[in-house]
């Protein structure tokens, strides 16, 4: 293995924060029947990732 290469393992915990809603009213395919009610909700989703990496020193 070259001195320039190194591996890395990582356990990661995170939180994704967002508002999600129906397809926006201003899109070109506006449909007054299907978009007459619009729902928007706020969420925080937990994320767990386990990964390995390969890095190069420059």
């Amino acid at each position: 293995m070259s001195e320039k290469l190194f591996f890395r393992g990582k356990l990661e915990i995170g939180a994704n924060n967002y508002h999600i809603g129906n397809e926006a009213l201003y899109f070109s395919n506006f449909d007054p029947v299907r978009t007459e009610t619009y729902v928007e909700e706020k969420y925080t989703t937990l994320l767990f990732n386990l990964s390995v990496g390969l890095f190069v020193k420059l």
């Binding site: 924060n17 508002h19 397809e23 619009y38």
Partner: protein
């Protein structure tokens, strides 16, 4: 298949750097991470960063691109899948020569899968969600 192509390209790209001969002078690193998320889906990062050594303590400042997949509930429909692409900044602190702790902040664009849009479409008269933006904070522990 697309992910495999990207992986092979990156493997070739990083391998090409390994042929350089001045590794001990390095002040910069690049790399990629690949792994699994809790949904058993692929998660991946592209990195660039600098090591910082001060008072014999090693630290890192990194930034890059990240990709992940996850699921969300919306409007009473559970488990709508989405793909995220974003940029992150990251700070790592090495507790010793090999173990590090870090924190990451990122901004993401999230695209709802077509299959999940169809799933929503079957249950609701409203148009399904297609895209939303988000920000995410992470903490991690790693082994170098």
């Amino acid at each position: 298949m697309k992910c495999l192509n990207v992986f092979l390209f990156l493997l070739f790209y990083t391998s090409a750097f390994c042929l350089e001969s001045d590794s001990l002078k390095s002040k910069f690193h690049i790399g990629f991470h690949g792994g699994i998320a809790q949904t058993l889906s692929f998660t991946g990062d592209l990195y660039m960063g600098i090591p910082i050594t001060k008072k014999a303590k090693r630290k890192e400042l990194n930034f890059g691109y990240l990709h992940l997949r996850s699921q969300t509930d919306f409007d009473g429909i559970d488990d709508l899948s989405y793909s995220s692409h974003g940029l992150f900044g990251e700070w790592n602190y090495f507790a010793n020569s090999q173990v590090f702790l870090g924190a990451r902040i990122s901004v993401l664009g999230n695209w709802v899968d077509e299959a999940s849009q169809d799933k929503y479409d079957e249950e609701r008269t409203r148009k399904p969600p297609t895209y939303f933006s988000s920000w995410a904070a992470f903490g991690h522990i790693g082994y170098n």
